[in-house]
């Protein structure tokens, strides 16, 4: 027994030694800076002065009790995330099913849907900004359709849908590829067996395909969720948080607190809260989705 224990311990030590370099690298480049920024969140610091004043929990107190703007940004972020997770994944899955079938020119289509994903979001924001203003105006002049004359980026209600459209348009391709890969792992024989048993296409999809591609869904939802909560670049270039503050996301709010108002301490306090939020939401989501995955 002790012999075995010793052997196990030895093995553990050897494996531990192998991971040591990676562990050190991660410690130095990720964990220590992270802890330093947690420390900054307890200070009053403008990012430039040579001293950081320790003020305890003041930043967190202000954050929770005296910052309605941040909570508005938080609400907007959550709404946008929910909407984009649902829209992106439903659209991507539908398109994946379509492009996984024997469609003429499906390779070209797959590539076409993927292209926006390669372009930087900042560029995409500027392109769409142009489309929404100048592009839509010429559409209106040539077609006369009232739809194009709506102020898609200037109206406080419409702007939500513009942002949603652009972020879905950008990320669709990536999730599409993941779903197609997932669909190709579904064994043909199961589908054939269900056909013999008399299942129609809907039953097939919901009873066989969907449960079997659950791992892809877990990955995609996780990815789109954390991306949604961190949404920044598309907002910065498309609306810059406006009009007013209607499209300010929590990440943009943090950026402005730290780099525009020069409140680094307070900004890091906000980002610690964002970190905790993403941590909680993502782990709940992954746990919930993992339980629904099935093995063949």
């Amino acid at each position: 027994m002790t012999q075995l224990n010793k052997k196990q311990l030895n093995r553990a030590l050897v494996f531990g030694a192998f991971t040591l370099p990676a562990l050190l690298a991660i410690l130095i480049s990720v964990e220590i800076p992270f802890l330093m920024s947690v420390f900054s969140s307890f200070t009053k610091w403008n990012g430039l002065d040579r001293v950081q004043t320790f003020i305890g929990l003041e930043n967190y107190k202000e954050l929770f009790f005296d910052d309605p703007d941040m909570w508005k940004a938080m609400l907007f972020t959550l709404t946008l995330t929910l909407a984009s997770v649902v829209t992106t994944n439903v659209c991507a899955l539908l398109l994946a099913v379509l492009l996984d079938s024997d469609l003429a020119g499906k390779n070209v289509l797959r590539a076409a849907f993927y292209v926006p994903n390669i372009i930087s979001l900042i560029i995409i924001g500027y392109i769409w900004r142009f489309i929404f203003s100048a592009g839509f105006e010429s559409f209106y002049q040539s077609t006369g359709v009232e739809f194009f004359m709506f102020s898609w980026l200037g109206d406080t209600h419409l702007v939500f849908f513009s942002v949603l459209l652009v972020s879905v348009w950008h990320s669709l391709g990536f999730y599409l590829v993941v779903y197609i890969a997932g669909l190709q792992t579904v064994p043909r024989d199961l589908i054939e067996a269900s056909m013999i048993d008399g299942a129609n296409r809907f039953t097939q999809f919901f009873r066989i395909t969907l449960p079997l591609i659950m791992p892809s869904i877990t990955v995609c939802v996780f990815h789109s969720l954390s991306n949604g909560l961190k949404a920044f670049d598309v907002i910065l270039s498309l609306t810059n948080g406006g009009p007013g503050t209607v499209t300010t996301t929590i990440a943009l709010d943090i950026y402005r607190t730290a780099f525009v108002i020069n409140r680094f301490g307070y900004g890091t306090a906000k980002s610690v809260i964002l970190f905790l939020l993403i941590l909680v939401i993502s782990s709940v989501q992954v746990r919930a989705f993992k339980q629904r995955e099935v093995e063949v």
Binding site: K44, F132, S133, G154, T156, G244, T248, I261, N262, R263
Partner: protein, 419 residues
């Protein structure tokens, strides 16, 4: 395979520290100044100046020009110890933002060659902490041809007169304004000008006005003249075309150049962009309305863009020599009026070949008030944050009293953190 290996090895050598060190040794003979500037629209002029300086003195200016993320890049470079020898910032509130890093220029000989009025924004307790780079003005720019074609001969000075002009233009099928409301910096510039006469008239000057705001003794909601500001924004929004909240700087300059709109609220820096669209455009500068009092309507005239010298830089002396050259050499004196084509803060400088700069000079000469950019005295960060609140007002997100409350709350918070 062998070839690939060779290329890889070469790359490795090229990026290795040994090689880099060798390069540095080569350079020790001549000085290289590290410069961080903004206003990329001036990139050509910067490069021209860098080449001239290199030719005259042999000193290299390693210049980086940024715009939107300028502040964040500067902050992180100062933080990480990679301090540029020469950098730019705004005047007023930025004096205290960068106080730990900037060199005190008070006793330098070349400072005496600058107009005292231009030094106002960089002076703290009689110490001069920056070098005013150029003098700028902002107000309403109009397309003279559009005004002529629509029979507008009397130039507007009050809110009522502006409205009458806008109505007439609209009736003739010309869009009166391009708003620029999408830019966070255009909105506050437009808005604060509408109350520019108030601090002097009622609160004992701009400095006192701002310090009353900073200490919370004065609230925006207690200033009755704030209605002038809202009236002006309403007017521009109402006559600003079908999508007033989507107009940005490019829209403003190109629409004015082509004559699609008659007026924009912008500064003399916009002239270059306007002329790129239409080189033959005739531009005029209007007095901005402060309510309905024609006598107090004025233009915003100040030296805001400031060059700062890092006090801990390795090349402090060389950086000072550069400023001296910019102030005294023939090329340096002619650079702002001749190449940048804006107003120079130097005493006795030549007049630039720019329509708006010339109109600025003649407006000021005829007794029109030139107000300082007092909103730059507000604590750092207020420009963007208050701009966003005003943008919300223009988009109908908040009404007047909600907007005033939001302005007060945000201002108080930033002031508390900054002071």
């Amino acid at each position: 395979m062998k070839k690939t290996m060779l290329v890889l090895m070469l790359l490795l050598v090229a990026f290795s520290p040994a090689f880099a060190a060798g390069q540095q040794e080569q350079k020790t003979g001549d000085v290289t100044l590290n410069v961080l500037f903004y206003s990329p629209e001036l990139a050509e002029q910067y490069n021209d100046m860098v080449a001239a300086y290199k030719a005259e003195t042999g000193v290299t200016l390693d210049i980086t020009v940024l715009q939107t993320d300028y502040r964040s890049v500067l902050t992180s470079r100062l933080n990480s110890g990679d301090i540029p020898d020469i950098f730019m910032s705004s005047a007023y509130a930025d004096n205290s933002t960068y106080k730990d890093y900037v060199y005190d220029l008070t006793d330098e000989d070349f400072i005496k060659k600058i107009e005292p009025s231009a030094l106002q924004g960089v002076t703290v307790n009689n110490r001069i902490l920056g070098y005013p780079f150029l003098v700028q003005s902002h107000s309403f720019i109009y397309n003279k041809k559009v005004f002529r074609d629509n029979g507008i001969t009397a130039l507007p000075r009050t809110l009522g007169e502006f409205e009458a002009v806008a109505k007439k233009l609209q009736a003739n099928g010309v869009q009166p304004f391009a708003t620029g409301f999408k830019e966070f910096w255009v909105l506050p510039q437009t808005a604060w000008q509408a109350i520019a006469e108030v601090p002097d008239a009622k609160y004992g000057g701009f400095e006192n006005f701002v310090s009353m705001l900073n200490t919370g003794k004065l609230k925006f909601k207690d200033i009755p003249e704030m209605s002038q500001l809202f009236d002006l924004l309403d007017l521009i929004g109402k006559y600003g075309g079908p999508k007033p909240n989507e107009s940005d700087f490019n829209d403003q300059t190109s629409s004015l150049a082509t004559g699609k709109v008659a007026m924009i609220h912008q500064g003399n820096w916009a002239e270059d962009s306007i002329k790129k669209t239409n080189p033959a455009v005739e531009l005029g500068f209007l007095v901005g309305p402060t309510g309905d009092n024609a006598a107090t309507g004025g233009i915003m005239f100040d030296s805001n863009q400031t060059i700062r010298i890092a006090k801990d830089g390795k090349n402090l002396q060389a950086a000072l020599d550069f400023l001296r050259w910019l102030t005294t050499s023939e090329y340096g004196r002619n650079w702002i009026p001749g190449k940048v084509k804006q107003l120079s803060p130097l005493i006795g400088a030549a007049a630039p070949d720019s329509q708006i700069a010339q109109e600025t000079t003649s407006l000021l000469a005829s007794g029109t008030p030139g107000y300082p950019w007092f909103y730059q005295m507000f604590p750092t960060g207020t420009e963007q944050q208050l701009g966003a609140i005003l943008q919300g007002y223009c988009a109908g997100q908040t009404n007047r009293s909600q907007t005033l409350d939001a302005l007060d709350a945000t201002y108080a918070k930033i002031a508390k953190a900054a002071l």
